[in-house]
């Protein structure tokens, strides 16, 4: 940034390479115009890494696309996006396509759909390359160049391979190499690590950071994860419901957020290195930009909101050196915010319930193999579980940690009878649950009342055509035949998960993701289970909502004494909820024990890798006490 003394090409007076002034994005569907982003100012300097942090619906991805003129049909941008003094928003598609790739390049989230499946990786990278005179490279030089580029991202051996032969992380590397093929000065990366496994995420971020440094290009990183932004970026823009709420240096923002939203986001993301006494969540969910156009966007969810916050949409104003905040009351509430954070970050002690003599669930040497239907008959079957043993005590919360493909979901499905294990034994509450198909009706009912499951995707886990009330009533009718007051039962369930009774008349389409997940939990609670299997229950939710749901899990446990088998890839999440943890790797348990012991002193090489992949900024590496 400022260390670059010599003036660089295309840098304006302020030293900015790419600037956006008053950027506004609108969508038009039929006659309805909706605001996606309003009045966004942004600058990106040479050799700088800037992060745009926001939850889904904040407009961050559309901002990234607007900067390169790749907005989807129906969306339009106004304002200015300046590169080399010219406004990109006014350029023709032809002129833009010359700039894309050579000046600005884009890396997208999903590595599985981003690459052309029928083109070799080398060609994906080198296709657009031209020599000094603007001619297409010859076959041989092209291949050499492609190999060189792929070596830069650490995978030179993939030149002649097709995308489907590669893992997600490798595909993302190919995509990055392809984006960098035209030697752009600006690289925009839209959630480049979100779709990847935890251990791969860290590698991709480190790769981006090192490429940014070695090429001294500017990197604009779009992410929903403050921890990722803190660990990678120099400066951070916090975007919420289409408006910027805070801008500042990453380290300064991390040390002291100057907007209640940033603070809330920071506190919503639980740390992986300790358990918090209380999870602070921002109540409610992200509003649409138009609903908060004339007020402070956070006002409906902010504990410090006052009538004056609901008069205008406050603009960013400087707070101290190099910091901007859109909070009107920031000077008054700074001290309160500081003490809230101090209070919230106290570590809690994990209580271990007395070890019961007979566990509620015991799994012994469970195996599950799938005959792979996609390959030829007679080929080796896929081993999802290769002999897993674990126990869950009464009222105990146990974590099951692993990446995709580790078999954790298969295990969960075996436990509730959605899959039948190939070998091994499952005993639940004294009943042999290895084969649900052969159980008597009584035993089956007993199992259903003992173990329930909550799925990952809140959007498809409720029947879209049925109201919340009828979904809950149906279960109550089945399992509590004697109770006559079904309406009361529904209201009680909704109250347990923190929803008003009036929600029983709503259909899932009228609920947000967090609300749907609450309904799914209420449905599981309707049979009064003793154990709820939670299969990644918060990973599809926004960060601020995630903390609410984790808090709900804790409350339910204290009030109802229900235990959990908590399946997740997120160490921070598992730290907040469970007492014991099993680490699953390629269908086998590689490590288990109390959560503190396993995460603080991992023994197995894989666990060590998992723990190290949690994004950490410099200040987080030392424990803050």
């Amino acid at each position: 940034m400022s260390s670059n003394a010599e003036p660089l090409r295309g840098v304006d007076a302020n030293g900015s390479l790419l600037t956006a002034v008053g950027l506004a994005i609108h969508s038009r569907i039929g006659g309805d115009q909706r605001t996606i982003v309003t009045n966004l100012d942004l600058s990106l300097n040479e050799a700088e890494t800037v992060g745009i942090v926001g939850e889904s619906g904040s407009g961050k991805s559309m901002t990234a696309r607007a900067l390169v003129g790749l907005l989807p049909t129906g969306l339009s941008a106004r304002g200015e996006v300046r590169l080399d003094g010219s406004n990109l928003l006014e350029m023709s598609q032809r002129a833009l396509s010359r700039i894309r790739g050579s000046e600005i390049a884009l890396v997208l989230q999903d590595p599985f759909t981003m690459l052309n499946p029928v083109t070799r990786c080398g060609d994906q990278v080198a296709d657009g390359l031209v020599d000094a005179r603007g001619r297409r490279l010859g076959r041989r030089t092209r291949r050499e160049e492609a190999a060189r580029r792929l070596a830069e991202v650490g995978i030179p051996e993939t030149v002649d391979r097709y995308p489907f032969e590669l893992s997600g992380g490798m595909r993302q590397r190919v995509a990055i190499a392809a984006a960098l093929a035209g030697d752009p000065r600006v690289l925009i990366a839209d959630e480049p690590s979100t779709a990847l496994d935890v251990t791969t995420q860290g590698e991709i971020l480190a790769l981006l950071k090192s490429l940014q440094t070695s090429r001294s290009m500017a990197l604009l990183l779009i992410t929903h994860d403050l921890r990722v932004a803190f660990s990678t970026c120099d400066r951070i823009y916090v975007l919420y419901a289409g408006s910027l709420l805070e801008v500042g240096d990453a380290s300064a923002v991390e040390a002291e957020p100057l907007h209640p939203y940033t603070l809330g986001l920071l506190l919503s993301e639980p740390p992986a290195d300790r358990r918090l006494t209380e999870l602070v969540a921002i109540p409610g969910s992200v509003p649409a930009a138009d609903d908060v156009a004339t007020i402070c966007p956070l006002a409906p969810r902010c504990q410090w909101a006052q009538p004056k916050c609901e008069v205008t949409n406050p603009p960013l104003k400087p707070v101290g050196a190099e910091r901007l905040s859109a909070c009107l009351r920031i000077d008054e509430i700074r001290a309160e915010m500081r003490s809230l954070r101090h209070h919230a970050e106290r570590p809690a002690v994990v209580h271990h319930p007395a070890e019961a003599s007979v566990p509620l669930v015991s799994v012994d040497n469970l195996q599950k193999t799938f005959a792979d239907a996609s390959t030829r008959r007679g080929s080796a079957p896929v081993i999802a579980l290769g002999g897993v043993s674990l126990t869950v005590g009464v009222t105990e919360s146990v974590g099951l940690v692993g990446e995709s493909g580790s078999g954790k979901t298969t295990l969960a499905r075996c436990l509730v009878g959605l899959e039948t294990p190939t070998a091994g034994a499952i005993t639940i509450d004294g009943v042999d649950a290895s084969n649900y198909g052969s159980l008597s009706a009584d035993h089956l009912r007993q199992l259903r009342r003992t173990v329930q499951i909550v799925f990952q995707d809140p959007y498809s886990s409720l029947n879209p055509l049925r109201t919340v009330g009828s979904a809950l009533k149906e279960v109550l009718e089945l399992h509590r035949k004697r109770s006559r007051n079904l309406e009361g039962g529904v209201a009680e369930l909704l109250e347990q998960v923190g929803l008003p009774a009036s929600f029983s008349r709503r259909k899932p389409v009228a609920l947000s993701g967090g609300e749907r997940q609450r309904v799914a939990i209420a449905r599981a609670l309707a049979v009064k289970p003793r154990l709820i299997i939670c299969d990644e229950p918060v990973s599809a939710l926004d960060v601020s909502v995630q903390a609410q749901i984790l808090g709900l899990f804790r409350t339910l446990r204290d009030e109802l004494g229900v235990g959990y088998l908590f399946i997740t890839h997120d160490l921070a999440v598992v730290r907040q909820v469970v007492e014991r943890v099993y680490v699953l790797y390629r269908g086998e348990v590689v490590e288990s024990g109390p959560v503190d012991a396993v995460l603080d002193h991992p023994q197995h090489a894989y666990t060590v890798r998992l723990v190290e992949s949690v994004p950490r900024s410099a200040s987080q590496q030392r424990p803050m006490r």
Binding site: G57, G59, M62, V416, Q456, S460, N463, A510, G513, A524
Partner: protein, 287 residues
């Protein structure tokens, strides 16, 4: 970037209508007109369908006989109106029959899987392999021409197509978490199938019914044309077409009117079915 759009059902309905192209709107109006004619046609028709005017004989369109008359002096216009009933009645029976059979078999095959699925699907494969109209002609030739027999044979021929489609969408719904949750909660299979899965696939089988209607109308008319459906002299479009094909040079309208109606009705149903399919296929899918 997913922004959750919360909209009441009325809004969805309005959007559906607003986005319907002109051809679909016209098709809806036309089908509405047909239903009206089927109900009140006899009150509107100027002449009886079978009333002979041997004195008039064959005429071209004029003030009294708008579409002219056929060789027996029967009013083509009135016969075309009376024909609406046959044109709707048979296909509706076929559509309803195929709908019931297709949904029951499709749901069972898709949800249960295993041997049941294999047997049902092999039956479907067999029916796909059979040259439908040819078999119908042979069957009716052996058993004797009858409208009802034609309808039954067409139900048997159409239902495999429905079964295959319903099985496909059932498979898709079956693996969705809301169905798995229902299974885990211990709901009976009947409740899962009819309370949860069926309402979610209904739009697709409904749209499919329109496509079936068009197919059945054309097939029934073809059988009538060949003299394998409804009895001679009846005011059925296929029959009228066959009986007036020799009069093409004397009163072309006698053949064009029923022929045109068959084309227009089948096209309208196809357009509506296609449009419904496009509109509704994504509904109920995970967002």
């Amino acid at each position: 970037m997913t922004s959750l759009v919360v909209g009441p059902r009325a809004q969805v309905g309005r959007r559906l209508l607003r986005s319907s192209p002109l051809t679909v709107t016209v098709s809806f109006v036309f089908v509405g007109l047909l239903i009206f004619l089927a109900l009140f046609g006899p009150l509107l028709a100027p002449h009886g369908p079978e009333s002979l005017n041997l004195a008039t004989g064959l005429t071209t369109p004029n003030g009294e006989f708008w579409f002219g008359t056929d060789d027996l002096g029967r009013d083509v216009f009135s016969r075309t109106i009376y024909g609406v009933r046959y044109a709707l009645f048979g296909p509706v029976l076929i559509v309803v029959g195929a709908f019931v059979i297709g949904n029951v078999l499709g749901l069972a095959a898709g949800y249960r899987g295993g041997l049941l699925d294999a047997s049902i699907m092999r039956w479907v494969d067999l029916m796909y392999a059979v040259p439908g109209l040819l078999v119908t002609i042979v069957l009716i030739g052996v058993l004797g021409a009858s409208y009802l027999l034609a309808v039954v044979v067409l139900v048997v021929l159409t239902s495999p197509f429905d079964t295959r489609i319903i099985r496909g969408v059932t498979l898709e719904q079956r693996s969705l978490p809301y169905v798995e949750a229902a299974r885990t909660l211990g709901l009976p299979v009947r409740a899962i199938l009819f309370r949860h899965i069926f309402p979610n696939i209904l739009p697709i089988s409904f749209a499919n019914a329109f496509l079936n209607f068009a197919f059945s109308l054309v097939a029934l008319s073809a059988l009538s044309f060949l003299g394998l459906g409804i009895g001679p002299g009846t005011a059925d479009w296929g029959r009228m077409l066959s009986e007036s094909r020799l009069l093409l040079f004397d009163n072309p309208v006698a053949a064009l009117a029923p022929g045109g109606m068959i084309v227009l009705t089948a096209t309208s149903m196809n357009l509506i079915g296609d449009w419904l399919y496009d509109r509704l296929a994504d509904r109920g899918r995970a967002r």
